[in-house]
């Protein structure tokens, strides 16, 4: 099981708690995690990635094992600790706004 942590506003939107668990088929990547997340929680569609382009929204960041993966390929394999559920995949609302 993959562990995912959402920012507070998306927890409310999806109706979930601080951390959720997902089954992800195939290689564990940013894309496969978010595909599974959107399939299980449809209100999150369009809230993390843009409709149409599928690009990460500008003020959303992805972290794993204390590293920023936001600019990595969405198909790059994530660390084994995330794939095995030892560490969570973090979806973060960027600190922005001044």
């Amino acid at each position: 099981m993959i562990r995912v942590v959402l920012p507070a506003h998306l927890r409310t939107l999806a109706g979930v708690g601080a951390e959720l668990k997902l089954d992800v088929e195939g290689p564990v990547t940013q894309r496969s995690i978010i595909d599974a997340l959107e399939a299980q929680y449809p209100p999150l569609r369009g809230a993390i990635r843009e409709y149409g382009t599928g690009q990460r929204r500008a003020f959303v960041r992805f972290f794993a094992c204390e590293e920023d993966w936001s600019h990595e390929s969405p198909d790059a394999p994530l660390p084994e600790a995330v794939a095995k559920g030892a560490e969570p995949f973090l979806i973060i609302g960027a600190i922005a706004g001044g």
Partner: protein, 365 residues
């Protein structure tokens, strides 16, 4: 129902409109551009919820706002979107940003229209689950020449003609007003008579910064408009307009609305200028005309008459259908003012909400 920069609030009272309960924030932390109930089913509400971080959501309630569920938020332009003009006149691709206004059908609770930025009109016929663009609006020819106003290229006004289900009026800043007579398939600009000195051709077919249009349901051919500058009136469903600013201290402003029972009684909130978005002389005054324009009287009782520098945004005024007519408006300072006597006397319902984006009223039996 009050939409603010940081959530929605529901203000409730009985027919006397003296004591109010305030609930909220609903959708705390999100921008709520608009909340509106279905005229066909008062328990059906729609809300536009958005965030610079997480984009657009549409929320729907089937129980008068006790509970909400997110419904469809996929707003995709029809076909190849093309371009409109950017502020500097260069072509800019159409990009969906947010829903400014939701207008439920007069007859079907599952049908609702959404006015969006960048300027387009969408419709859902399944209670907000899916959305289709009425692309004849952008596609009628002038779309590539539309240019955003300071607040963005927003479609902010949707008026459904109660006497003709095929007729809809919309307005876009800063493209102007448009009308369809075939249920949204084809559209044409209805801006004849508007004069805007700030555009290259002041009498152009499109390019006018229309801030708001209002009608009385008993006379859908009579339209009232608050333009960027100028208060305007049309007696022929927008085919032509004439100015009715009359003795207003300034004819810049955002909202305009019509008394529920007197089709010639209209309300505006004059704002000093487009670069000074606050009331003239620091006095918050609603102006009422009982003659359909030109002759205006200031309404000041209960409103701050010194040191007031708030704005009242275009969707932030509404009327109820009680007798006598209640009038409501919200400010960027977070106050919501109410008058239970058609504007003669005012009192704040709340004073310290986040900046108010929209005010709508439901009159329940």
């Amino acid at each position: 129902m009050v939409g603010t920069r940081k959530g929605a609030f529901v203000l409730t009272s009985d027919g006397k409109r003296e004591k109010w309960d305030v609930s909220g924030p609903h959708f705390a932390g999100w921008e709520i551009y608009h909340v509106k109930g279905s005229p066909a089913d008062p328990n059906r509400l729609y809300a536009s919820q958005s965030s610079g971080w997480f984009g657009q959501q549409i929320q729907r309630s089937n129980d008068g706002g006790k509970s909400w569920e997110p419904v469809g938020n996929k707003f995709v332009y029809d076909g190849v979107p093309g371009t409109h003009q950017w502020y500097d006149g260069t072509p800019h691709p159409w990009e969906f940003k947010r829903v400014w206004h939701l207008e439920p059908s007069l007859t079907d609770p599952d049908t609702v229209y959404a006015g969006v930025e960048d300027g387009a009109l969408f419709r859902s016929t399944d209670g907000g689950q899916s959305w289709q663009e009425l692309s004849g609006l952008r596609g009628h020819g002038s779309g590539p020449r539309w240019q955003p106003g300071a607040g963005g290229l927003c479609l902010h006004t949707i008026l459904l003609d109660p006497s003709n289900p095929d007729r809809i009026f919309i307005a876009i800043s800063a493209a102007g007003a448009f009308r369809t007579d075939d249920g949204g398939k084809s559209w044409r600009p209805i801006n004849q008579g508007l004069t805007s000195q700030y555009i290259p051709d002041p009498h152009a077919e499109v390019g006018h910064c229309v801030h708001r249009i209002a009608m009385h349901r008993s006379r859908p051919d009579v339209l009232f408009m608050q333009k960027h500058w100028d208060v305007m009136r049309s007696d022929n469903a927008g085919d032509s307009w004439h100015e009715v600013s009359g003795n207003l201290p300034t004819d810049f402003g955002f909202p305009i609305d019509v008394h529920a029972h007197e089709p010639e009684t209209i309300y505006v909130v004059p704002i000093k200028s487009d670069s000074e978005h606050y009331p003239p002389e620091g006095k918050l005054r609603v102006f009422r005309s009982r003659t359909g324009g030109n002759e205006w009287e200031p309404l000041t009782k209960g409103l701050p008459q010194s040191n007031c520098y708030v704005n009242v945004l275009r969707d932030a005024m509404a009327v109820d259908s009680l007798d006598s007519c209640g009038v409501y408006f919200g400010t960027t300072g977070g106050q919501v003012y109410a008058s239970a006597d058609a504007g003669d006397n005012w009192a704040p319902i709340v004073r310290d909400l986040p900046a108010v984006l929209s005010v709508e009223v439901q009159t329940l039996q």
